[in-house]
């Protein structure tokens, strides 16, 4: 088996998808690993999707093969659906169970959407976690930092990514990439790790 780790990052404009991809790429580079990042951000501020694919290890293609993403982080439940055929039974899905930008959603169905995705649970090792990202922090905008928190959850849950990059590599990368609120973000990352570890213990 080739040494590859693939992660799909999904959301809409302003949810920190691009930042997450930079943090992961910088961390991988610091370990001298090959990394490829593909970002699609067409018209993000105007209601469009933002998708980043981060590939670490023995990789050539900018695109993750179908059924081959080790993990999927979705900052907006509605963005998850289009990429469901990139996951397999060992994938880890971390999903923000809210959908933003009501104005551009032609029909809104958060709750039904969550139930639909939950159907996958049985066939994929119960590795789906819905996360409420209204975080308890001191910032005015409570959703800020949610991306870093979810990244922490991934590092808490997935041993496979830890075999490429470690928690400390990510923390150094956060310091390099986030000049503002650095300490708060590191705190959120650590809290996410704890939450993620808790999810493993339950299984």
């Amino acid at each position: 088996m080739k040494m590859i780790y693939n992660v799909l990052l999904l959301g809409t404009g302003g949810q920190g998808i691009i930042t997450l991809s930079k943090i992961l790429a910088t961390a991988a580079m610091s370990k001298n690993l090959k990394v490829i990042v593909t970002q699609k951000k067409g018209l993000a501020q105007r209601g469009g999707s933002v998708v980043a694919q981060v590939r670490i290890g023995d990789v050539y293609s900018p695109q993750i093969p179908k059924y081959s993403s080790h993990s999927l982080i979705s900052m907006d439940i509605n963005e998850t659906f289009e990429y469901l055929d990139y996951i397999n039974k060992n994938s880890i899905l971390l999903i923000n169970n809210k959908s933003i930008n009501d104005a551009v959603l032609l029909s809104k169905k958060d709750k039904i959407q969550q139930e639909e995705i939950e159907q996958l649970q049985g066939s994929m090792n119960d590795n789906i976690v819905f996360i409420d990202t209204k975080l308890k922090n001191k910032q005015k905008d409570k959703s800020k930092g949610a991306n870093i928190y979810i990244l922490g959850v991934l590092f808490g849950m997935d041993n496979r990514i830890n075999s490429f990059i470690r928690k400390d590599d990510v923390i150094s990368s956060i310091k390099k990439n986030l000049k503002r609120n650095t300490e708060l973000n590191i705190e959120l990352f650590n809290k996410g790790i704890d939450f993620g570890k808790g999810k493993i213990n339950k299984q």
Binding site: P62, Y67, F81, D85, N88, K89, D102, L120
Partner: protein
């Protein structure tokens, strides 16, 4: 040497800086826009002696770059595929005249049309102009080919096209970077009308020389080890661009043995290497994005060397002429070549397509606080005020953020084709027989780019036409580039400001400036102007709200008084504003997103929306 994580666009900028580029011009357009800001940033930080500008349009950018290349400088000119259509007149002409300094034309194609343009394969411009082309497959390759392009262009004295597609331009990979070159060249342009005018030139000789250069450039490309051939067995695969990376991924993943040829240059065509592959294999698969250009050339070579073998590709339907290639369709094409099933991982044993159908489609909308939302709302209301229905009055649209006026809920626009076409089309509808008022709408950058000639045309022959320029001071859609109206250059330094109203008035069109957030007043003005005779111009002027917020200008947000609110939803339905949230049947305004434009407050039938108190 240091390693950097760069996108394909950034890697081209890096390669140009390492090659000693001195003049860089271009016009923004997805997926090419990131090159110039990245390069300008380095120029500023490192204090390099490089001239870089966003030009008024691609043709002007191309002409400027041409003169600089004729003066011995190394030049780079950048644009998207649609932009090369605009600049192609100069391209096709000057290839015959040649260059002195290295000239690289960077153009990006968008297979799969992510940016809403048409599928266009710009490699055809290499075939029509005879400018050689290089076709990188990833960021590291893009840097390498950029440097080769400058070297080869200068040595053989011919401009070279460097073409990326979206998945190369926007992919980030590790690029090994060297020092920036600082070998500045002296300006030298000697009068030589025999070469630099078309009318005096011996055009047949120029053409002969150009064809001779093609032979020389192919030899040079061979010296640079381009178009690498690797014979392993009797299965042949020829790939170019990003498809080459898909091939490498699949070979590596499944441990395949294949004979491969990477096409770096479709023109000049590496006939010998392709011939050698054909001699050594029984069957060939060609993998390229967009049109079957390589495939056609391979078939030509099989005929030339008189060994006809099966060529799998787009013409036999193995791969598609629509959209992008991807790992899955490349893997299935390879399966067909080697007669062995190639699948990456197992599917989940549950019907994912059924679950996928629960995705809610998203419509695009204007940003919260965008002045264009207000302007289109005003136009719709003015049409109503004049006693017309929206589907009676033709409103032509144009390229850029203003094109979003086609979406719900405003749906003002009837057409949107190419830069500046709004005015020519509107005039065309009038002379074709539209008896009711016709309105053309376009943004400020689009107006400068190609909106002026059609306005002059309409004025020269006269008709009843209203042109509305939605002026937000920036070229916003592609990332807030400055334009002639902005008063700044790309370094943020002051530049001359060109007034749109003085241009339109000089053309002879009565011009009035409105403020889009003065809604009621503007509706009256727009209705009055539309009903007047002749060619008239309205400029709806308000700076792009995203830029205002960046400069720290943010109005007090609005809020919805929940006691007054009857939950009719008019605020959301009529604006599609991203700041308005529907939460458990309540309508709320997210004060982090709201910029205080007040359109929703104007729309609310019971005045339940007011400004937040400080």
């Amino acid at each position: 040497m240091i390693k950097k994580l760069l996108s394909g666009n950034e890697a081209v900028a890096q390669g140009a800086l390492e090659s000693g580029v001195e003049i860089v011009t271009g016009y923004p357009g997805t997926p090419s826009s990131e090159l110039i800001p990245f390069l300008a940033d380095i120029v500023k930080k490192e204090n390099l002696e490089i001239y870089v500008e966003w030009s008024v349009n691609e043709k002007v950018a191309f002409d400027i770059a041409t003169a600089a290349a004729w003066s011995g400088k190394r030049v780079l000119v950048t644009m998207k595929m649609a932009g090369l259509n605009v600049a192609s007149d100069t391209l096709i002409n000057i290839v015959n005249k040649g260059v002195k300094g290295g000239m690289v034309i960077y153009v990006t194609d968008d297979p799969g049309t992510h940016a809403g343009c048409t599928e266009q394969d710009s490699r055809f411009y290499s075939l029509i102009s005879l400018a050689p082309i290089l076709d990188p497959s990833d960021p590291m390759d893009a840097k390498k080919l950029t440097k080769i392009a400058f070297e080869a262009s200068e040595k053989i004295r011919i401009p070279i096209i460097l073409r990326s597609t979206t998945n190369v331009a926007h992919t980030m990979g590790i690029v090994e970077c060297d020092n920036y070159s600082s070998s500045l060249k002296r300006f030298k342009f000697k009068k030589d009308a025999q070469n630099y005018t078309t009318i005096l030139a011996n055009r047949a000789n120029q053409r002969r020389l150009l064809l001779k250069k093609h032979v020389e450039i192919l030899e040079l490309f061979n010296k640079f080890n381009l178009n690498q051939l690797d014979i392993k067995n009797n299965f042949g695969v020829i790939a170019s661009g990003v498809s080459w990376t898909y091939l490498q991924e699949i070979i590596n993943y499944f441990g395949l043995e294949l004979s491969t040829l990477k096409i770096d240059s479709e023109n000049p065509w590496p006939e010998n290497k392709v011939g050698k592959m054909i001699q050594n294999v029984d069957k060939i698969l060609v993998i390229e994005e967009q049109e079957p250009i390589i495939e056609t050339m391979v078939k030509k070579t099989t005929a030339n060397i008189k060994k006809i073998i099966p060529v799998l590709g787009k013409e036999d339907g193995t791969l598609s002429r629509v959209g992008e290639n991807n790992l899955e369709n490349v893997a299935s094409a390879l399966s067909k070549l080697i007669n062995k099933k190639l699948e990456f991982e197992e599917k989940i044993q549950i019907d994912i397509n059924k679950i996928k159908s629960y995705k809610s489609e998203r419509a695009l909308t204007f940003c919260a606080g965008c002045s264009h939302r207000a302007t289109y709302y005003i136009i719709n209301k003015a049409i109503k005020k004049l006693g017309f229905k929206q589907d009676e009055i033709i409103v032509t649209g144009d390229i850029g953020c203003t094109s979003l006026g086609v979406y719900k809920p405003l749906e003002t626009l009837w057409t949107e084709v190419t830069m500046g076409a709004s005015i020519g089309l509107a005039y065309g509808f009038k002379i074709a027989g539209a008896t009711k008022p016709v309105i053309a709408t376009l943004g400020d950058s689009t107006f400068f780019h190609s909106g002026i000639p059609p306005l002059i045309n309409a004025m020269q022959y006269g008709c009843d036409l209203t042109v509305i320029v939605l002026d937000n001071l920036w070229t916003s859609m592609t990332g807030f580039q400055p334009n002639p109206n902005t008063g700044k250059n790309l370094f943020g330094k002051p530049s001359n400001t060109i007034s749109i109203s003085r241009i339109t008035e000089a053309i002879g069109a009565p011009t009035i400036i409105i403020k889009p957030f003065e809604v009621e007043k503007s509706i009256n003005i727009v209705a009055e102007i539309i009903s007047k005779k002749g060619v008239k111009v309205i400029i709806s002027k308000e700076e792009c709200v995203l830029q205002k917020v960046r400069h720290g200008i943010k109005n007090i947000p609005y809020y919805i008084d929940q006691e007054k609110c009857t939950k009719c939803g008019a605020c959301l339905k009529n604006t599609s504003c991203p700041a308005i949230i529907k939460d458990n049947n309540r309508y709320l305004i997210d004060n982090n997103v709201c910029t205080g434009c007040g359109i929703c407050a104007h729309i609310c039938p019971i005045n339940a929306i007011g400004k937040e108190k400080k």
